[in-house]
C-alpha cells in the first residue's frame, strides 16, 4: 500500500485548505473587532484593515465606559447567571433522569410537553408573559429575568435525557439494592457519572443565559436592571443615528470596545472548559 500515501496527499492538501479557509472565516470577524477596538476611532473608519500597533490606545474603552452602564450590565448578567444556572443545572438533570430511567403512566404525554415547549419560543409567548409579569408586579425584577423560561429548561431536560439514557441500569439497580433512596441514586450515582455531559450542559446554559436578549429587552425598563446584552444593544441603536451629535467613528469605536469586552468572559470560559463543552455536546446530541 505504498502508493496510497502519494494518492492521498492531494486530498489531504485540499482538506487542509478547506479547514484553513473555514478557520479564517470563523475567526477573522472576532479578531478584527478586538484589534480594531484598540485603534484610534478615526482610523477604524479611514483604514479598516490597517494595522499599526504604535497607535494603539484605550480611548475607545474609556469613552465607552463613560457613556454606557456596562458594569451594572455585567453585574445583572452575573446575578441572573448564578440564579438561573443553578436552577436549570439542578432541575433539568432531575427531570431528565425521570424520563430516561423510569416507566410511569403519562410519561409520553409529559415528555410530549417538553417537546412542545421547544416549539414555543419566547417570541410567541412574549405578549402574554409580559402581561403576566405586570400582574405579578415582576416588571424590572430578577425573578422576571430568571424564572419565566420553560424553553430553556425544556431544552436542558431534552439534552439531559439523552445523556442519562447512556448510564447503565445495573449501576442504578445495584445502588437500589444497597438501600439507596430514589433521590439518593440521582444525587450519588447519576450526577457523578454524567459529569462530562453536565459540564457540557453547564457551558451551553451559561451561553444561553449570557446571550439572552429578547426577554431582558422587554422585561427591564430601567437602566439599572438591564443585562449586558441589553446595554450593548443600546450602543447599536446609537449607531443607527438615534444619538444626535455623536459621530459615526466615535460610536463605532465604543461599539467595538464594548463588544470585545463582552466577548472575553465567554471566550475564557469556553477555552478553559472546551473539552467538556465539546464532549458534552457530543454526549447530548441525537446520534445515528
Amino acid at each position: 500500500m505504498t502508493t496510497v500515501d502519494t494518492r492521498r496527499s492531494r486530498p489531504a492538501i485540499v482538506s487542509q485548505a478547506f479547514m484553513v479557509l473555514l478557520t479564517l472565516l470563523f475567526l477573522s470577524p472576532v479578531v478584527w473587532a478586538v484589534v480594531s477596538s484598540f485603534k484610534p476611532a478615526a482610523d477604524i473608519i479611514r483604514d479598516p484593515l490597517g494595522f499599526d500597533a504604535t497607535s494603539f490606545t484605550l480611548d475607545n474603552f474609556t469613552a465607552m465606559f463613560d457613556s454606557v452602564p456596562l458594569a451594572s450590565g455585567f453585574l445583572n448578567t452575573a446575578i441572573v447567571l448564578v440564579l438561573k444556572g443553578t436552577l436549570i443545572l439542578f432541575f433539568a438533570p432531575l427531570a431528565g433522569y425521570a424520563f430516561a430511567k423510569y416507566d410511569f403512566p403519562l410519561k409520553n404525554v409529559l415528555f410530549g410537553t417538553v417537546l412542545v415547549t421547544l416549539m414555543l419560543p419566547i417570541i410567541v409567548l412574549i405578549i402574554p408573559l409580559l402581561l403576566e409579569m405586570k400582574e405579578f408586579g415582576w416588571i424590572n425584577t430578577y425573578q422576571a429575568l430568571v424564572l419565566p423560561d420553560s424553553f430553556g429548561l425544556a431544552f436542558a431536560i431534552f439534552w439531559m435525557r439523552q445523556v442519562i439514557a447512556s448510564v447503565p441500569d445495573e449501576l442504578l439497580d445495584a445502588a437500589r439494592v444497597d438501600g439507596c433512596g430514589e433521590f439518593g441514586i440521582f444525587w450519588r450515582i447519576v450526577l457523578p457519572v454524567i459529569r462530562p455531559g453536565l459540564a457540557g450542559l453547564a457551558v451551553l446554559t451559561v451561553m444561553n443565559i449570557y446571550n439572552d436578549f429578547i426577554w431582558p429587552v422587554v422585561v427591564t425598563t430601567s437602566d439599572s436592571m438591564q443585562t449586558l446584552q441589553v446595554v450593548l444593544s443600546t450602543l447599536a441603536q446609537n449607531i443607527s443615528g438615534n444619538t444626535i451629535g455623536a459621530d459615526y467613528a466615535t460610536i463605532t469605536g465604543q461599539l467595538l470596545a464594548a463588544s470585545s469586552i463582552a466577548l472575553i468572559p465567554l471566550l475564557v470560559i469556553f477555552i478553559v472548559l472546551q473539552k467538556h463543552f465539546i464532549n458534552g455536546i457530543l454526549a447530548g446530541s441525537v446520534k445515528g
Binding site: Q16, F18, M19, L22, F26, P29, V30, W32, I44, L49, A92, A95, F99, T117, M119, L120, P121, I123, V124, L125, I126, I127, P128, L130, L131, E132, L147, P148, S150, L153, A154, A174, A175, V177, G179, C180, F186, N211, F213, I214, Q229, L232, S233, L235, A236, I239, Y248, T252, L256, S259, S260, A262, L266, L267, F270, I271, A283, S285, K287, G288
Partner: protein
C-alpha cells in the same frame, strides 16, 4: 444484582419501618416529583400565558381599557395581509439561504474532523466553535461595522481585488444574504459538532467494505454516511428550522428589519405588533407562527425518519 459493596453503600441505610411496599410507593412517585418543577414552570409560564394569549387573539385589546370580542377578525386580518405573508416568506428565504449551506459545509467539515489522519484537528475544532460562544448582540454589532458599505472592511477587501462596493445592509437584494451569513457564521460550528457526534457513532468497518468495492469518497459520503446519520441530520435540521423561524435578534440589531422590510422575519414582524401595542393581532400572529413551526418540524421529522 451483585457487587453492591463496590458502591460503598450500607444496607443499614434503609430504616426498619420502610417495608417493601413503602419503597415501591416511593419508587412509583419519584419520577413525578422529579418532573414536578418543570411542570410547575411549564404551567405558570407556558400554559397560562398561552390560554391568555388565545383569548387575547379574539379581541382588539391594545394593552389598556376594555377588550372587545372581535371573533376571528385578527386572524382574517393577518391572513389577508401581504405584510404577514412577506414576513413568513422572508424567513423562508433565509431558511433556504442557511440550511442547505450549513448542512453541506457542516457535513464536509465534520467528515474531515472525524478523520484521524487530519493534522491540527483539535485546533480546528476549537476555532470552529468560537463563533458559537460569542455573544449574539456583540457579534451582530460587529456585523454592522464589518459590512458597512462605506467604511467596512468587507468592501475594502472587495475593492482591493477590483470588485465594486456592495450595499450589504442598505439594499434589499443583499440584506438577506448578510443576515444569513451572520446566522451561518454563528451556528455552523455547533452544527459541525452535532454532525461529528453522529459520525462517531458509525462503525468504521462499513467504509472499509465500501473502499474495497471501489466507491469514491463523495459516493461514500452520500450513500453510506448520510443514511447512517439520518437521525442526527433530522435533529440538526429541526433544531435549526426552529431557530431560523424564531430569528429575531439578528435582524433587530443589524437591519431593524429593513431595508424595505426585506429582513422583517416572522419573529420581528410579530414583535412589531407589540411595539404598536396591537396585542390582539400580536397574539393571533403568535398562534399562526406556532402552527407554521410545528407543521414544518413534523414535515422534517417525517422526511428524515429512518425507513425501518
Amino acid at each position: 444484582m451483585t457487587a453492591p459493596s463496590a458502591l460503598g453503600f450500607r444496607a443499614v441505610r434503609r430504616a426498619p419501618q420502610q417495608g417493601p411496599r413503602w419503597s415501591l410507593l416511593r419508587r412509583r412517585s419519584a419520577p413525578y416529583l422529579f418532573i414536578a418543577p418543570f411542570i410547575l414552570i411549564f404551567a405558570l409560564f407556558s400554559i397560562y400565558p398561552l390560554t391568555f394569549a388565545l383569548r387575547l387573539s379574539f379581541t382588539d385589546w391594545r394593552g389598556t381599557g376594555a377588550a372587545t370580542w372581535v371573533g376571528l377578525d385578527n386572524y382574517a386580518y393577518l391572513l389577508g395581509n401581504p405584510a404577514f405573508w412577506a414576513s413568513l416568506a422572508n424567513s423562508g428565504i433565509l431558511w433556504l439561504l442557511i440550511i442547505p449551506a450549513q448542512v453541506v459545509i457542516g457535513l464536509v467539515a465534520a467528515v474531515l474532523l472525524n478523520n484521524a489522519k487530519l493534522r491540527m484537528r483539535g485546533f480546528y475544532r476549537t476555532a470552529f466553535i468560537v463563533p458559537f460562544v460569542t455573544p449574539l448582540v456583540a457579534i451582530a454589532q460587529i456585523w454592522v461595522v464589518v459590512f458597512d458599505q462605506n467604511y467596512g472592511p468587507v468592501n475594502d477587501i472587495l475593492g482591493a481585488v477590483g470588485l465594486p462596493d456592495i450595499g450589504w445592509l442598505t439594499t434589499s437584494e443583499w440584506s438577506k444574504p448578510t443576515i444569513a451569513l451572520l446566522f451561518l457564521w454563528k451556528t455552523t460550528g455547533f452544527a459541525i459538532i452535532i454532525l461529528l457526534s453522529g459520525l462517531q457513532s458509525i462503525d468504521t468497518s462499513v467504509y472499509e467494505a465500501a473502499a474495497l468495492d471501489g466507491a469514491s469518497r463523495a459516493r461514500q459520503l452520500w450513500s453510506i454516511t448520510v443514511p447512517l446519520i439520518r437521525r442526527t441530520l433530522m435533529f440538526l435540521v429541526v433544531l435549526q428550522t426552529l431557530a431560523v423561524f424564531q430569528m429575531f435578534a439578528e435582524p433587530y440589531v443589524v437591519t431593524q428589519g429593513g431595508p424595505y422590510n426585506s429582513t422583517t422575519t416572522a419573529g420581528l414582524y410579530l414583535y412589531n405588533h407589540i411595539t404598536r401595542a396591537d396585542l390582539g393581532t400580536g397574539a393571533a400572529n403568535s398562534f399562526l407562527l406556532v402552527i407554521a413551526v410545528m407543521v414544518l418540524s413534523l414535515v422534517f421529522v417525517r422526511l428524515l425518519r429512518p425507513k425501518d
